[in-house]
């Protein structure tokens, strides 16, 4: 092998190694993004179940039940959009809703809350965890195109938070940096 062809071969081998490394990195990024989106979809499904349960809670006013119905429908929109995004990167969205007994905030299960303040407090706690999840997702997702969607959804979850805080007589906007903490 001449020096020229050896250099060429070395360059080609180096390029191939870089391409392989880039391909590995892209594959790992896709795997990571698929896992993050899958988790977000699970949480959105749980949020939809929580609001749909609240929409039937006798302790809430008719206006509050209507708001719960609207928010539940918005969570379903999130599930649909995130599902399409996950399919777009080769993933399969988790299917099926959790049972109300399996929707929890800390040790408290959705099925256990009855009184108005408890129902609204549960929803508030769930939204805080959801916002926190999205906040983390923005630091983890590798594909920029996903961040426009997740950003718009995180903003909407923050709006749910503000409404729930007001309903509970709290400051609706206690912080300039909403991270769910």
């Amino acid at each position: 092998m001449t020096a020229t062809t050896r250099r060429g071969a070395l360059a080609a081998a180096g390029a191939a190694a870089l391409a392989l490394r880039a391909g590995d990195a892209a594959a790992r990024a896709s795997n990571g993004d698929r896992a993050v989106l899958g988790r977000l979809i699970e949480v959105e499904r749980s949020a939809a179940v929580a609001y749909e349960q609240a929409a039937g809670a006798a302790s809430l006013s008719s206006r509050e039940r209507a708001v719960a119905r609207d928010f539940g429908a918005q969570e379903r929109e999130h599930v649909a959009v995130l599902g399409r995004a996950l399919e777009g990167i080769g993933g399969r969205p988790p299917s099926g809703d959790p049972a109300p007994a399996d929707v929890r905030v800390g040790a408290k299960a959705l099925a256990e809350v009855r009184e108005r303040a408890d129902v609204l407090g549960f929803l508030l706690g769930f939204e805080l965890e959801t916002v926190r999840l999205y906040y983390e997702a923005h630091q983890r997702l590798g594909r920029g195109a996903l961040l426009r969607t997740t950003g718009a959804i995180m903003g909407n979850e923050g709006q749910h938070l503000a409404v729930l805080r007001q309903a509970l007589g709290r400051d609706p906007i206690p912080t300039a940096f909403e991270t769910g903490r």
Partner: protein, 189 residues
């Protein structure tokens, strides 16, 4: 609750108990496929982030000026004290963005001398102006998010986007409108 100094200086990921799969902080980002950068690439990425942050900064500055110069005067009489809270939080966003740009080794873009919000407005007109500018700031964040290279900055930007989205709830309520008319802040789907 998160204050600006702790948030920006300590870094967005610090102290978080991970909720996401494989999310243990920032140390394993290479394992997630985000390539290690050379010094030159890192510098270029920082410069790109500075440009994006400056665009968001411009939107937040105008928003803060609108609350101070157009909304607060139109809501005089103490009827609506929320305007002070909104103004304070927009100023917090401005300060955070200036600080973030400084941490990237750059200077923030110069602010315009003054903003022209037109003649004195009715309360409803002032609130509608605030709604318009909040939506514009959210759009600026949504435009920046996919292109910011720093994961911590993406988290910071998302938290301020969400704060601005929450402001819309307060403004729309005061206007007698549906506080959450869409499942997607800024209309992005």
């Amino acid at each position: 609750m998160v204050d600006r100094r702790g948030f920006i200086v300590v870094g967005a990921a610090a102290g978080a108990t991970a909720l996401l799969p494989g999310c243990g902080g920032g140390d394993d980002r290479d394992e997630e496929g985000i390539a290690t950068e050379t010094g030159e690439e890192s510098s270029s990425a920082a410069a790109a982030d500075v440009g994006l942050l400056n665009r968001v900064l411009e939107a937040e500055r105008e928003l803060a000026a609108a609350y101070a110069d157009a909304v607060a005067p139109a809501m005089r009489g103490g009827r609506w004290t929320a305007v002070e809270r909104l103004l304070t939080q927009e100023r917090d966003h401005v300060d955070a963005l200036v600080e973030a740009i400084g941490q990237l080794g750059a200077a923030p873009a110069r602010r315009p001398g003054r903003y022209d919000f037109g003649a004195a407005r009715t309360a409803a007109g002032a609130l509608a102006l605030a709604v318009h500018l909040e939506n514009r700031a959210i759009a600026a964040y949504l435009d920046a998010l996919p292109r910011l290279t720093s994961p911590d900055l993406r988290g910071t930007a998302a938290s301020m986007l969400t704060s601005d989205a929450e402001h819309l709830v307060v403004l729309r309520r005061e206007l007698g409108e549906d506080p959450v008319p869409s499942a997607f802040a800024g209309g992005a789907g």
